[in-house]
């Protein structure tokens, strides 16, 4: 069971990880890798589809092949590797993806606030992170200077 939350609550979901499999499962909620999506019938699949996107992929170029995914899983191989923040913003702001953007990997409480701001909507916390406490981390700051996925205007247009 992943240690999974969205900004409101702890989520109880079970996914079948097909990333290492040669054949993708026919039904149920599945996780696939980007090189598997060409074999996948998104619309015909009986269940939800999550696609894992490495953080060095050009998300804009890749997007047409994954835009039907229910969940796009962006990766933090280490919490200090911040490329997925930009990928998330591009997905939300530029590409208009409205599905779930999930943070995976080294996902820690102290990064949740900015992840959410960049457009992440669910969070696979690292095992040792306390999910109950993590739910309190989305309200650390009330003032946002910049426009981002959670706020369309910069503070200077709201003052």
């Amino acid at each position: 069971m992943p240690n999974l939350i969205n900004t409101q609550s702890i989520l109880d979901e079970s996914w079948q990880d097909c990333q290492e499999l040669e054949k993708i499962a026919c039904d149920g909620d599945i996780i696939v890798a980007i090189d598997q999506v060409e074999y996948l019938d998104f619309e015909g699949h009986n269940g939800r589809v999550a696609v894992t996107v490495p953080n060095d992929e050009d998300i804009v170029e890749l997007y047409p092949s994954i835009n039907k995914a229910d969940v796009i899983r962006l990766q933090f191989p280490a919490f200090a590797d911040g490329r997925a923040y930009s990928q998330a913003r591009l997905l939300r702001d530029r590409l208009g993806f409205e599905g779930d953007i999930r943070a995976t990997g080294d996902v820690l409480r102290d990064q949740l606030f900015q992840m959410h701001r960049c457009g992440f909507s669910s969070f696979e916390l690292r095992e040792d992170q306390n999910a109950e406490l993590a739910l309190t981390d989305f309200s650390r700051f009330d003032v946002l200077y910049q426009p981002a996925a959670d706020e369309s205007l910069p503070l200077f247009k709201r003052r």
Binding site: F79, A80, D81, G82, R83, Y85, S86, Q87, R89, D93, R94, L108, D110, Q111, F113, Q114, M115, R117, C118, R140, F141, D142, V143, L144, Y145, Q146, P147, A148, S152, L153, P154, L155, F156, K157, R159
Partner: protein, 546 residues
């Protein structure tokens, strides 16, 4: 200066709470050091050789006297009575206790200060011309744009975990005193052919292990596009900057690898998508921030032909060296040197700070500036007050007449405090001060920037000094490499290494030798840097290694 409203204050207050919580989790064992480290760094807290070090932000170097008094209070209460000004116009404390740091931050927040993003792989304190707003050669005051950048970059959610630290500098003057060509982004206010004011944008400068002079990626950027363009640069860098090797992670390495044209094209391409977004600046916002930097109420005065006591040679020397021109007649800017021969460059005590605050209240509209050369400035002093001010500064050992001279050294803390250092720098500065203790000789040498770094991370900016000294470790012994011909000014250049490094006991002799060579070879009043540029490094090399 900029004054916080309820929004700015709330963000700083909530940061104090957040850090309080993080420190508690660290102390009670719920946050491992490895994960606490980047969090504390983003709050300016380092773990140094002997203790923690807290770096406090001074946005573009500007302080009011209430803030200066708070810095004095913190030095007294949480440190050993000292504060240390840095090359990023910030201030550092070398002895805070971890448990006390949230209290220090709360004290700072009470005077609209913080330590946000003074370290870490994020956008750091934006620096500027120390004479901003008063320089006669200024097109426009750069500080409102620095403040606009400060707000945009504070807790920018996308750019908190960049490949490496990121530094921005802005100047509005003809002469670059903000070293914009050795910053990740350098901005220079300029006019285009239609007479509109905007920015020339440099990218990819930086010091450290691989010093690089930045290149112009855009010759003219309209003001309204400032933030969208910065966001485009940062996004390109965040996505594509190298992360496999921290010594190759600055944007300067991208500039070198891709070349200026390709990097500029990538930035422009990203910018096309966001230039008309809500982040586009409005005239109202620029005017709102500019209002905070309106000139103080100057009196109508004439320039004085004679300043103070003509017969007092000490005073006249100080005027010549430490008093700078001002755009308003009858006024002058004064360098309060933190380079007296007997103290570590940039150090100041709590009582000196308080006295400087008193003098700023009395003589300079209650404002003080920190410079990247590790001095302070009182920017708006009436010329007729100079003599009284000089006497008072003399009393607190802040009137050494050496601004811009060889003994006005930039110097990192080195092995005295820093856990990264390979060698000491403060004792080297002390020794050089002893060798150059004759002020007449020092003045005769003219403008001569000498910078010292205790390791190749180059916090002492040795690459961009006329004479640079770099501490290196050779089999456990301290050695010093000498470079000459560097400059962070308009024609920025990286100093050239002269040859094998010198042992600690040899370095002061070597510098003396170098300076003597210059005196013999210079033409007229030519400064050291110009002599090197004219004749090259060989004549110096020959003499030094004869």
């Amino acid at each position: 200066m900029y004054v916080y409203d309820q929004y700015d204050q709330k963000i700083v207050d909530q940061r104090v709470q957040e850090f309080q919580d993080q420190v508690e989790r660290r102390i009670n064992g719920n946050l491992p050091e490895e994960e606490f480290r980047p969090l504390r760094l983003m709050n300016g807290l380092y773990n140094q050789l002997h203790a923690y070090m807290l770096r406090v932000a001074i946005p573009y170097g500007l302080l009011n006297t209430k803030q200066v008094r708070m810095l004095a209070h913190i030095a007294r209460k949480y440190d050993k009575g000292f504060a240390h000004f840095t090359t990023r116009q910030n201030v550092q404390y070398n002895w805070p206790e971890l448990e006390q740091v949230p209290n220090i931050l709360a004290d700072l927040a009470s005077v609209q200060m913080h330590a946000i993003q003074t370290s870490g792989n994020c956008i750091r304190n934006t620096t500027s011309d120390e004479y901003a707003g008063v320089a006669p050669d200024e097109l426009e005051d750069p500080r409102p744009y620095c403040e606009i950048i400060r707000q945009w970059s504070t807790f920018h959610p996308e750019f908190t975990y960049l490949p490496r630290k990121f530094k921005i500098a802005v100047t509005g003057a003809e002469k670059d005193r903000a070293a914009i060509q050795v910053h990740d982004i350098g901005l220079r206010l300029r006019k285009n052919s239609e007479g509109e004011t905007g920015f020339e944008v440099y990218v990819g400068g930086g010091l450290g292990r691989t010093p690089v002079v930045g290149d112009v990626v855009r010759e003219f950027l309209p003001k309204k596009d400032l933030l969208t363009y910065l966001e485009a640069i940062l996004r390109v860098y965040n996505l594509l900057g190298r992360r496999d090797n921290k010594y190759k992670a600055r944007i300067k390495i991208m500039l070198k690898a891709l070349g200026r044209d390709k990097l500029a094209a990538m930035i422009e391409n990203e910018w096309e998508h966001i230039k008309s977004s809500s982040l586009e600046l409005t005239e109202e916002e620029i005017a709102r921030v500019q209002d905070f930097f309106a000139p103080p109420s100057y009196e109508t005065l004439d320039d004085l032909s004679e300043l103070g006591d003509d017969n007092n040679q000490d005073f006249q020397r100080w005027v010549k060296q430490n008093v700078k021109p001002h755009k308003i007649s009858g006024y002058a800017a004064v360098v309060v040197t933190l380079k007296s021969p007997d103290v570590a460059p940039g150090d100041i005590t709590d009582s000196q700070l308080e006295k400087v605050a008193d003098l700023a209240d009395e003589f300079s509209f209650g404002m003080v500036r920190a410079t990247h050369k590790q001095n302070l400035i009182l920017a708006d002093v009436k010329q007729k007050d100079l003599y009284t001010l000089w006497q008072a500064l003399n009393d607190i050992n802040c009137a050494t007449a050496n601004a811009g001279c060889i003994t006005d050294m930039i110097c990192c803390p080195g092995l005295t405090y820093c856990s990264l250092a390979n060698a000491h720098s403060i004792p080297i500065a002390e020794e050089i001060n002893q060798r150059f203790d004759d002020l007449d000789y020092v003045h005769d040498l003219g403008e001569l920037r000498l910078n010292i770094s205790g390791c190749m991370n180059a916090c002492g900016h040795h690459h961009v000094a006329a004479i640079g000294i770099l501490g290196v470790d050779k089999k456990g012994k301290e050695f010093y490499q000498v470079t000459i011909g560097g400059s962070s000014g308009d024609e920025a250049s990286i100093g050239k290494i002269l040859g094998p490094s010198f042992a600690r006991e040899e370095i002061a002799d070597a510098i003396e030798n170098l300076v003597k060579t210059y005196v013999e070879l210079r033409q007229d009043d030519e400064p050291f840097l110009e002599t090197v540029r004219r004749i090259g490094t060989n004549p110096f090399k020959e003499r030094l290694y004869a």
